[in-house]
């Protein structure tokens, strides 16, 4: 199973004030908050970690059939930054997931899978949306994410 999540940074800045008191506590573990605070670009880190959690949640909730709002139970670990990409692992209910996030100027996009092998086989299509609106469901993507001006499909 694979998942993906895109965060349009402009839309996120408009919709969310993560500096609001208590905000980070509700969605990030103390260790994740430390990572955010010590980052050169805290805003970027907030949305990288968020898209990692969301991409994994999409797999985990399908797998377990359980919907819940428990972002702190999806723990981001082993972050490795390399040339505009961040690879990481998430652990929840002792299940491991693997992620890779791309940092672009206007968005963050994360793909997630249950193994590194599966992760490496993912194909990504990102469209400017909705100016490029079309019947994307016919393409049978494995996972869809749209946010703000962008639509991301993974196969």
């Amino acid at each position: 199973m694979i998942g993906n999540d895109l965060v349009d940074l402009e839309q996120a800045a408009k919709d969310s004030n993560w500096e609001r008191k208590g905000y980070l506590d509700k969605i990030y573990t103390l260790k994740e908050q430390e990572t955010i605070r010590s980052a050169n670009h805290p805003n970027q880190l907030v949305w990288i970690l968020w898209s990692m959690k969301e991409a994994v949640y999409k797999i985990h909730s399908r797998k377990t059939g359980i919907r819940s709002y428990a972002p702190t139970s999806l723990v981001c670990t082993n972050l490795i930054f390399n040339a505009g990409q961040v690879s990481g692992q998430l652990v929840t209910d002792s299940t491991h997931y693997y992620t890779c996030s791309s940092i672009e100027k206007s968005y963050i996009h994360t793909i997630a899978a249950t193994s590194l092998t599966e992760l490496s086989t993912i194909t990504i299509e990102i469209y400017a949306y909705p100016s490029n609106l079309f019947d994307y469901k016919n393409l049978n993507p494995k996972c869809i994410s749209h946010h703000g001006r962008f639509l991301a499909l993974v196969y």
């Binding site: 996120a12 819940s68 709002y69 428990a70 946010h147």
Partner: protein, 84 residues
């Protein structure tokens, strides 16, 4: 506080973040924050923080997990008020 009062106090909070204003008119216990009201998952945190302020309660992570519908949220709020 009865259920109607509780919904009446919740409604303005969720209205701030809902992208489906039409669904707000028929808001009831079964209304789903994400599926029906189209609240962005990153804004659910704001809903929780606003609820804490509005009802002067603290919502722990275990309770927050369940807060995906109006009904589940009402239950959490009632429990937390009762514990005060």
């Amino acid at each position: 506080m009865n259920k109607e009062e509780l919904i009446a106090r919740l409604k303005p909070i969720v209205s701030n973040y809902s992208q489906n204003k039409a669904a707000l008119d028929s808001i009831n216990a079964d209304t789903d924050f994400i599926k029906d009201l189209k609240i962005n998952s990153a804004n659910l945190v704001d809903v929780i923080l606003d609820v804490e302020e509005e009802f002067d309660i603290l919502i722990d992570n275990e309770s927050m997990e369940k807060m995906l519908t109006v009904g589940a949220s009402m239950e959490v709020i009632e429990n937390k008020i009762a514990q005060k």
